[in-house]
């Protein structure tokens, strides 16, 4: 059986009926990776125990045990999520040789739901990048055109799903790192509300932004994974006790009577005209489905990226202080301890990571803190207020995920500012802590375009409702790269 286009929902039904075994499914995915990964570099390593775990699921099913919602479903994890005993590098040389000492909470929850963790996927180094080119392990390639970037930083996860290796993978999203690669690879990506999913065992980039979420082929599948991983975890103090949990079966495929806001600032300068017209057509489809479309203004949008690129490097420079060459990973000895730190970090970190650490160290340093960091926190409040105001008038916001389709490998690699501009429509959700979903909505020159849907904090249900309605009426998500 060709398992490359199965959704989680379809595979779950086949596994339950006995038409497909978990072992055959896992083997099918491992074969697809073995055949296709060399060209795309989506996976850094596959699990040696996946087939045993799948066999155990099959045995438990045969014994009539009740199994979790993801029983036998192969799922990939981004290389910044810990699994006990797995190598885990965050795409960096500085974690060369590191082995996870414990399981992250998402690992525990996916395993409790019966998922088969199939391997770890490539990413921009410490999630700093929008193209997966800053990975120490080499860039990943876009399956729609191997000369193009897959987006980033969760590029390996998006490529693995788009290429048909696996039905789903987890990514982490600090400024768009789930939604943007999902958009550029033609798959679904969800950044949950800040606080919805525990980050325990996720290597931190910027702690006031980071969220873990799924990359899948359908909106329903994203809801299935969210249901398995969400909720309060005592080990992440920012995770929240949920009052409403995700119930995928209850997703209503109707937007009748909903009001969707289209922020005019999200179609401003720098936006590719062809991408804009594809996104407008997607919005028109939602209007035909019964939604009321209303233009809105989010006046501080043009300041979001600047605020983000102050706060995020500031938090990153602090979070990456732990890489001292002593407790884990790469080590380079100097004549004294400060020299050892400098050498280890100078050699172990790549250029973009060093750039951001320096930027963060600068904006937090004496004399600059007020002008940059404090100012950016104030602007973050203004961005949050823009969203609060918008959600008084509309149920959700619809806009592009990315200002362009995938660009050529190498094209923006030496121009950090041009790379940062790729995040212009995604950073706002992280600044405002709201959830965001990217759904495939068409093509420009054979490359996928994503529609981004944003909703109130903890209202993922509305995202699923809009996204599932759209997918019910369109076939973009059923197309596969050849």
């Amino acid at each position: 059986m060709d398992v490359s286009t199965l959704t989680i929902k379809e595979a779950g039904e086949k596994l339950a009926s006995g038409e497909l075994t978990a072992v055959d499914y896992a083997q099918g995915c491992l074969d697809a990776i073995a055949n296709g990964n060399e060209n795309l570099n989506a996976f850094l390593e596959v699990s040696q125990t996946a087939l045993d775990e799948a066999a155990s699921i099959d045995a438990r099913r045969a014994a009539g045990e009740s199994l979790g919602s993801l029983a036998g479903i192969p799922i990939g994890l981004k290389d910044n999520m810990l699994v006990r005993g797995w190598g885990s590098t965050s795409g960096s040389q500085i974690l060369e040789g590191y082995r996870g000492a414990y399981d992250s909470t998402i690992t525990q929850r996916l395993q409790a739901a019966g998922a088969i963790l199939i391997g770890r996927t490539n990413m921009d180094e410490f999630a700093m990048g929008s193209s997966t080119e800053t990975s120490h392990h080499g860039a990943s390639c876009n399956p729609w055109d191997a000369q193009k970037v897959p987006g980033g930083s969760s590029g390996g996860s998006a490529v693995a799903v788009a290429a048909g290796f696996i039905p789903a993978a987890l990514g982490s999203d600090t400024g768009g790192s789930i939604r943007q690669p999902a958009s550029l690879c033609g798959v679904v990506g969800l950044k949950p509300t800040y606080g919805r999913v525990s980050r325990y065992g996720l290597m931190a980039l910027a702690s006031s932004f980071d969220q873990i979420g799924p990359i899948t082929r359908t909106v329903e599948d994203a809801a299935l994974i969210l249901e398995a991983i969400e909720g309060r975890d005592p080990k992440d103090g920012t995770s929240v006790e949920l009052t409403n949990t995700t119930v995928p079966a209850l997703i209503e495929k109707s937007v009748d009577g909903m009001t969707l806001g289209v922020p005019k600032e999200y179609f401003a300068s720098g936006m590719d005209a062809h991408v804009a017209s594809v996104v407008h057509e997607a919005i028109a489809e939602l209007e035909r489905a019964g939604a009321k479309i209303q233009e809105i203004s989010m006046p501080h949008s043009e300041y979001a990226l600047a605020a983000y690129y102050i706060i995020q490097p500031a938090e990153a420079s602090s979070n990456l202080g732990r890489f001292d060459g002593l407790r884990y990973g790469y080590h380079s000895s100097g004549e004294n301890l400060p020299e050892t730190y400098k050498r280890t970090r100078g050699e172990g970190f790549g250029k973009e990571v060093k750039r951001r650490i320096m930027l963060g160290s600068y904006t937090l340093s004496a004399g600059y803190y007020d002008a940059y960091y404090r100012k950016a926190l104030k602007v973050r409040t203004l961005i949050k207020r823009d969203f609060d105001e918008a959600f008084k008038r509309v149920d959700a916001i619809v806009c592009p995920t990315s200002p362009s389709v995938a660009w050529n490998l190498g094209e923006k690699f030496d121009d950090p500012l041009a790379m940062y501009l790729a995040d212009i429509y995604t950073v706002t959700a992280n600044l405002a802590t709201v959830p965001g979903l990217s759904v495939p909505c068409g093509f420009v020159d054979g490359l996928p375009v994503g529609l981004q849907i944003l909703a109130k904090p903890f209202d993922e249900y509305t995202l699923f409702r809009v996204g599932a309605t759209y997918q019910d009426r369109t076939n973009w998500h059923k197309q596969s790269p050849t």
Binding site: A101, V240, Y309, Y420, T433
Partner: protein, 101 residues
């Protein structure tokens, strides 16, 4: 806006980063262009705007002050990741210099 060589070296020292000689001028340029872009925020008057404080709301999270210990296997794996050790202790170079006057 461009960073001086001295500024880049000072920041690198603060961040404990050794930079290769040939990379320094590129960092001067890159950091300068990023900073020029983020200067944009100065256009906004934010005098009466409070700073954004807590991404997950401002409620405190409490728990009982009880030592839960550590799974011996997790402990073993954490120790194995150390670059240098003596028994179960992390071995590091001297933090303080030994000076005799």
């Amino acid at each position: 806006m461009k960073f001086s060589r001295e500024e880049v070296l000072k920041i690198a020292k603060l961040a404990r980063l050794h930079l290769e000689e040939e990379d320094i001028s590129k960092y001067q340029e890159d950091l300068g262009s990023i900073l020029t872009y983020i200067e944009k925020l100065q256009e906004l008057n934010t005098d009466d705007v409070p700073e954004f404080q807590h991404a997950a709301g401002s409620a405190n999270v409490f728990r009982e002050d009880i030592v839960e210990g550590c799974d011996p296997d997790v402990r073993r794996r954490a120790l194995e990741n150390f670059t240098a050790r003596e028994g179960n202790l992390l071995k590091v170079q001297a933090v303080f210099e030994n000076r005799t006057e």
